[in-house]
Structures are given as structure tokens and as C-alpha cells.
Amino acid sequence: MMQKPPKWARRFLHFYCKAEYLEEIEEDLTELFEKRIEKNGLNAARRQFVWDVIRSFRWLNIKKLNLRIMKFQLMRNYIKIGGRNIRREWKYSLLNFSGLSLGLAVFLLLIFYVQHEFSFDQFHEHADRTFRIIQVIDNPQGSEARVNTSINLASALKEELPMVEDAANFIGGMPSWVGQGEDRLFETGFLLASPEFFQVFDFDIVAGRSDYPISEPNTMVITETSAMRYFNSTEVIGESLDIERYGSFRITAVMKDPPKNSYLQFNMVLSQDMEVYFQNAASWFATWFESWNGAPAKTYIRLSDSAQKENFEAQLLPLLKKYKGPDWEEHPYYLQNILDQHLHSDEISGTLAAFKKGDLGQIRAFSIVAVFLLIVACFNYINLATARATKRAKEVGVRKTVGAQKGQLIAQFLTESFLIIFISLLGSAVLLNILLPYFEELTQVKLNLDLETILQAALFVFLTILLMIVLGGLYPAFYLSKFNPIHVLKNEKFNIKSKGILRHGLVSFQFALVLFMMIGLLVINQQMNFMAEKDLGFDSDHQMVVEVNGGGVRQHFKTIKEELLAHPNISNVSGMTRALNSHREPRSITVNPLGKQTDPLSMDFYGMDEDGLSSLGLELLEGRNFEGVFSKDSASVFLNEAAAKILGEEVKIGDWLNLDDGFNAQVIGILKDFHYRSFHERIGPLVLGYLNTPIEDIDDILVKVKSSDLLATVEYVEKIHNQFDENKVMTMQFLDEMVQGAYQKEVLFRRIFSGAVFISLFIALLGVVGLAAYTANAKTKDFGIRKVLGASELQIMKLQWRDYLKPLIIALVFASSLSWIFLSRWLENFAYRIELGLLPILFSFLALTAVTLLTIFGVGYKVTKENPVKALKTE
């Protein structure tokens, strides 16, 4: 198929270009585009085409608008008058511009972020019919969806089902040392994939073999960044890398880094050659890996154009039955479209570090906040425009008298709104540029705001402006054009009261939105603090977690432990199979009380040595600790309270359990429950065994240090570690930081959200400033008379405040009920959560009331203080 230039760019060209030049320009641009595909690749050619279209947007080429002179002159007049008004009342204009610009800038920022999150995996050409296969497994805690499937599934599907156009699978590589000879780096992001990987996914190969690059044994594709990291060059085709545990792989192609909006993130893709790995793994591993009952691989398929997803799902089970044999316990499988991977994978387990999961709830929240901000900003504009309507009334009267139609007046005021919004848009572009770096740092998301994205967003921005004009400009335009010229010109009092209801309504609405967000922020803060302060049930302070990355450290753990304990600032050292409450999930095992016929139960498992209990400060409710004698301890386990409760009366201390269908261990104690997972989840049943068991081996060393001279202690640990580590590199973290790492999503959300809340509060206050200033001005005489009759300054101030109390109360009612509904739902995400109380609502309300009244006080103070004589003299 012939490659086409971007459709929207061509449409834009057709839109602006004069008919007499169109053919020539389009023809030439297309020819250049076709030539550039061969020279620079499709993407570059598309970019250049867009650029050419933009560059061709010249006065000479642009269609001349056929405007009737009459209208055009009026338009000029409207713009001129609008401009004068902006200049004459520059204080109000400044309020308008800053509110609208700020609102629009933050709105766009949030929308760009949301757009980024929704754009995941769309770059794959056939994304709409590419799926991954998910299986649903029943276990005692309920059913569980998993991405892991048999390694044989992909090829069988492709061979036997004609509707499957292509299928690929991959497994995640174990973090390994990678490099040439002695020169190695620690690599965490690589996949081992079947040859069809680059057929199913569209990752850009920039050099080397582009069709089936990893079809030969021991070949690999490397990303540009990684190539630079390992070779300091991207011309690395034919080079080889040694990958610990997997062997040596030859580079056949270099690819661009996976796009930021790719669910799969990796540094290299290796061919699926596992022989070297099998040699070092347990004996059963290779058999399990290659069998139909094993589940090491993630399988992805692309269906043909006409195929139905449901059809496929129906054919999958018979096929599985055929291969897995008659004993196979049937369970459901389903397809997940790859466009859903990023945001709709919450329920799916078996994830890789290579998967980039997003959070749909968060995105929804940001979209809502974005719209709120825009509404608050637009309402400011409406309020200020209608409040100052009296000033424009005479102009409307005169225009009507000399024959202006109502429609023309509406057009005039809409033009003015457009003018103001357009200027605000420019302001927001400047603000956006200033805010963007901070925002990117905050979210750790690189928003690709290149020319093309912005142009594509241009339509959206245009719609936003239209919406703003409708929201902010339409009402004032109708309102202002309604004036009766006779009343206005005769200087009669016309009905101001009627618009008060609307203004109060809008202010109430603004306050309600702001209050709602403030309450939300407080509750989120409360929950976060609650989690930070809640007792984990174990001691996470001053615990270094040293990762075990090589065989040397694993083998010489006893020696390392002795040497570390010799240091005065190290009080305890223990080995663990993995650190508690880290991003790495505990291993799940099956548990069966020995000699009793029950269904196996699924429980979590950790292993540690005899110093683990004291090091972590775990409380032993019953029983005894390990003895420090390997032959005895390796067959001893603790249960936590939750596990003891599930196993019930039948299992007591001294009883034996069968673990993971293979090995028997005796229960020696019951531990008090502790939070070995994040507070999102309840404490589950846990078996805590010895460090070296057939189930798992040591993977982390826990070092309890004293707070004095921390740096020197860490250096000492590193020195000892490196004596035994082949690669002489130590990776470590502090346990309390790892624990906090589970709440990154919430921390990020809180940051962005608090920013948005303060900005919306600020914008709302800008509106209050404008309105208060206007009222104070308009009522100068009123206040003067009151003062002459003996009113105190406080009474005058109260009059100004009174206008805002009703909106504040209305806002309180709406915001508190809304936030109650939303926040109680949000809190359900946490197994351990705060009680929703009245305090945050009360506090937010008082804070909002206080700043509002203070703002009015600041604005109205001068008028209140003024000598009444001055005010009354003005007439």
C-alpha cells in the first residue's frame, strides 16, 4: 500500500490554499513526501510534510475571505471598542486575563496529561485487533486473572486457528549483569521473545535487520539508549553482549526506545534461548517451562480483520483441552485489547517490571479537576462582565437608537469576549511554558509537546475556546443587548436586582467547586498521614536492605554477616528471601496440613534466618524462635495470626504442614500480625520459614544500623559486600523508603491535586476581588449616607460581607454532600483507612470563609474608611 501523508495536514492545506495554487503545491509536497520516505523514513517524511504545509501558509497562498465591507468595518469597530474598554478598565481586565490565563493553562496541562495517558499503545498499527491472553484461575481467596500462559500457546494458536494472523510471546528476563568481558552493567529491563515479537508490535527498528530480527539463535535487538550505554555508539550491529545466566547474544538490529506511551518498556529484546539458563536452574524448571502446564510467557495475538474476539475465545478452550490433556481443570481465558493494558489492568496479576500501569481513577479525577478549573475561571468572567453592565448600558442605548439590531449587539459583545479569551490564550501559552518543566518533574511524565501534538490539539483548544465563549460570553452578550434604550438614556433606574440571583448562583457554584476540592485535599492528606504513622507491626527504621545480585554473596552470607556484625554501628544482620512490604510481591505457596484431607490453601511466604525476628522486632505470640541449627530450622516455620486462624484448631504448634506440594515443615510459633504488604491490602495468611528452603533462597540482606555516622556505616557495608560480589557493585535501599514506595501513586496524585486546588482557590478569589471592588465602588454613596446616619465602619463592612455569606452556606451544603459521596468511595481503595469525619469539611469551610472575607475586607477597606462627605459630594 502506498504511504500517505497525514490527512489532517492535507485537509488544512485544502482549507487555506487558493484554488489556483492548490494543485501545484499539493502535487509538489506529495512528490517530496514520497521521495523522503525512502530517504528519511516514514515518520520523518510525515513531519517534513506537515512542516511544508505550515511553511506554505503564506499571505500569497491564502484564500481571500469574501467579506462584505459593511460587516468588516463593523467588526473593526467592535474590536476597537473592545480594545478601548480593556485599556480603560485595565484593573478589571488584568483580573480577567490572569484568571482566565491561569485557568486555561492548568486546564490544558491537565488535559495534555490525560491525553498522554489515553494515547498508550496507539502507535501499534493494528492495535485495535491485537490482544493479550489472560487466564482466570480460582484460588481460595477468589478468582484471579493472570497474564501468564504456556510458552507453547502462541505458536499453536497461529498454526491451528486461521483467524489468528500472528502471535508472539515473551518472558521477562531476570535482572542480570550484562556487558562484554569484565565490563558489566546491571540490567533490569530485557525481554526474551519469540521471533514474531516485532511482527506483532510496531517498535521502530532504525538499523539492521527489520524483519524477524531475532529469528536466529542467540540474537538480540537493542534500543538506541542502551546501545549508547553499553557501547557509546549506536552502530553496534554484529557486536555481542554477555548476559549473566542467559549466555552471549549477537546484536542484529537497533531500535528506537519504546515510546513514552508504550505499555511495554524495555532496553533489549533477546531471542528465547534458554539452554544456558536451564543448566543453572532447578532440574524441574526446564520441563515446567516447556510444558503446556507451565505458565512463564505472556502471549499476544493479532486477529485477522474479520475475526470476532468472542469467536476466538470460544475456540480457545477446546484447543487448550487438546494440548493440556483430559486431566486439565478447565478455567476461563479471555482476550484483553492492548489499548486497554495501560489503564484497565488493575485486576490482573503476574505483572512485569516492564509493564507500565496507569490509574484510570486518577485520570478521571484530573479531568474533573480540569473542567472545574475552567468553570471557575469562566464564571469569574461572567460575573465581572454582568456586574459592570451598567457602565456599558449607555453605549447599548446609543447603538440601539441609531439602529443597531439586537443580533448585532450580541455579535459585538461576543467579539469582545473572544478578544479577551484570545489574549488569555496567549497568556496561557506563556504560563504553560513556565509550568511545564515543573509539571513534568512532578509527574515524571514527559509530555511530548512537539509541534505535531500541539497542532493536533489545536482543534481541541479551539473547541475549548468555543466552550469558554459559550460559557463565559454568551450570557453577558444576551444580557447586555437586552437593555431598553429609553430607560437607559433617560437615566432611569433599571432593574439590577434580577441579575443578583444569577451572580449569587455563580459565586455559590464556584465556592462549591473550590470547597469540594479543598475537602478532598484534606481527606487525602489525612489518609496519607494515617498511613505514614500507622504501626506496620515491624521495625522499618534504620534498616538497610542490601540486594543479593550474585552467587558469591549468596554463598558466603555467613561470613559476610559475621564481618558486618563486627562494626560498632551495626546492631543486627539477617538474611531474607525478600524484604517485607517492598514493590516485590511475596511468593505465593500452597499449604496443606499433613495427614488431613483438605483442599490446599494459598498463602504468602517469606524466609529469614534466626535473627530476623529480633531485627524486625516481630512479636512471637506463642512458640519459640529458630535455633540457629540449619538441619532443624530449615524444616521449621512460623504462622501469622491470619494463617493460624484459617488453619483453625486442627493445626497447633508442633504440627506438620506440607508446603508447595513438595516439602514438609513443622510449625514452631505463631507471630502477631504485621503489615507485610501495603495498607491497600488486608493482612493475608503468611507462612514464615527459614532462609534456605527448597522454596526460596536469600535475596536481600537486612542490616540494622545506628543513626550515627550513617555514611561511614554504609561504606563499610559496601566494602564487605564487594569483597564477595563478582561485580563489585552494591545496590541497596532503606526499608522505610521501600515501604513508602507503595504509595507513589497517591503521593503523585496529592501533589498535582494540591496544586490544582490552590490555583482554583486563587482564581475564585480573583473573582471575589473583582466583584467586591465593583460593589464597593457602586455603593459608595449608599455607604456615605449610612455613615452620616451613624453606621459604624464594622457595620459597613458587614454589609459588604453579607453578600457572600449566602453563597458560602449554599456551597457548604453542596460541597459537603458531594465530597462525602466521592471520598468515601475513594477511601474504599484502602483496606486500612481513616473514618470520614466532619472536621475536614468544617475546616475547609472556615478557611474558605476566612480568606473570602479577608479579601473583601482588603478590597473594601478604603471605601469603608472614606469620609462620607467625599462620597456624597460626587453628585
Binding site: 495554487y21 503545491i25 502535487e27 509536497l29 517530496l32 511553511r55 506554505s56 503564506r58 497562498n61
Partner: protein, 108 residues
């Protein structure tokens, strides 16, 4: 010839049109500029200059026949007019005249 002044870039393009008389069109001129003369310009600049030269009467355009090769679209080819040729000749002549007046200069 008074009033018929053209700029340097216009002159270059006029020369290219003259050299490829009746076969010159946007992309061809762009590629000569890009490859042979190593001048990096945007195609739109070429279009603008061609329009300007056409307006000044230096070149004229005709629409080429439909070829299947290019999806049936038509191309606009340019040729130089007598006026254009005259201007080029004159400019060349002036230049040569001036050049010949350069005395022998030796640089140490």
C-alpha cells in the same frame, strides 16, 4: 529594462528555470537547490519566487499532461520568457564586464 529588478534568490531560480526550460517545476528546482547548490530552503520559498517571477513576466507556466505514474495529477511546468532571458543576458554581461576590469591581484 528599468524597473525589472530581481533579487539574488530570484535570479538563481530564474537561471534554473532557464537551464531546464519547459521541464522545470517546484520539486525539480528544490532538488537542484538542495543537492547541486547546497542551499537549504523550504519548498514554499520556491513556490513564492516562481509566482513572483510569473507576475513580473519573467517566466510563464503551462500545465503538463496527465501521467499514470503520478496518480493522474497534473504538474505545472515553467519556461523562461523573452523578457526573462533578456534580463539574464544583461545581468551576465554586466557581471562579466565588471569582472574583466579586476586587475591582477596577488595575495601573499
Amino acid at each position: 529594462m528599468k524597473g525589472h529588478h530581481i533579487g539574488e534568490f530570484e535570479e538563481v531560480i530564474l537561471l534554473i528555470v532557464a537551464a531546464n526550460n519547459k521541464k522545470a517545476y517546484g520539486v525539480l528546482i528544490y532538488e537542484i537547490l538542495d543537492n547541486d547548490l547546497n542551499r537549504k530552503v523550504n519548498i514554499s520559498a520556491v513556490h513564492v519566487v516562481l509566482k513572483r517571477l510569473e507576475k513580473k513576466g519573467m517566466v510563464k507556466a503551462h500545465v503538463g499532461g496527465i501521467t499514470n505514474q503520478r496518480g493522474g495529477r497534473r504538474k505545472k511546468f515553467y519556461e523562461i520568457t523573452a523578457l526573462g532571458k533578456q534580463l539574464l543576458d544583461q545581468m551576465h554581461e554586466t557581471r562579466v564586464k565588471l569582472y574583466q576590469k579586476i586587475p591582477k591581484i596577488s595575495f601573499q
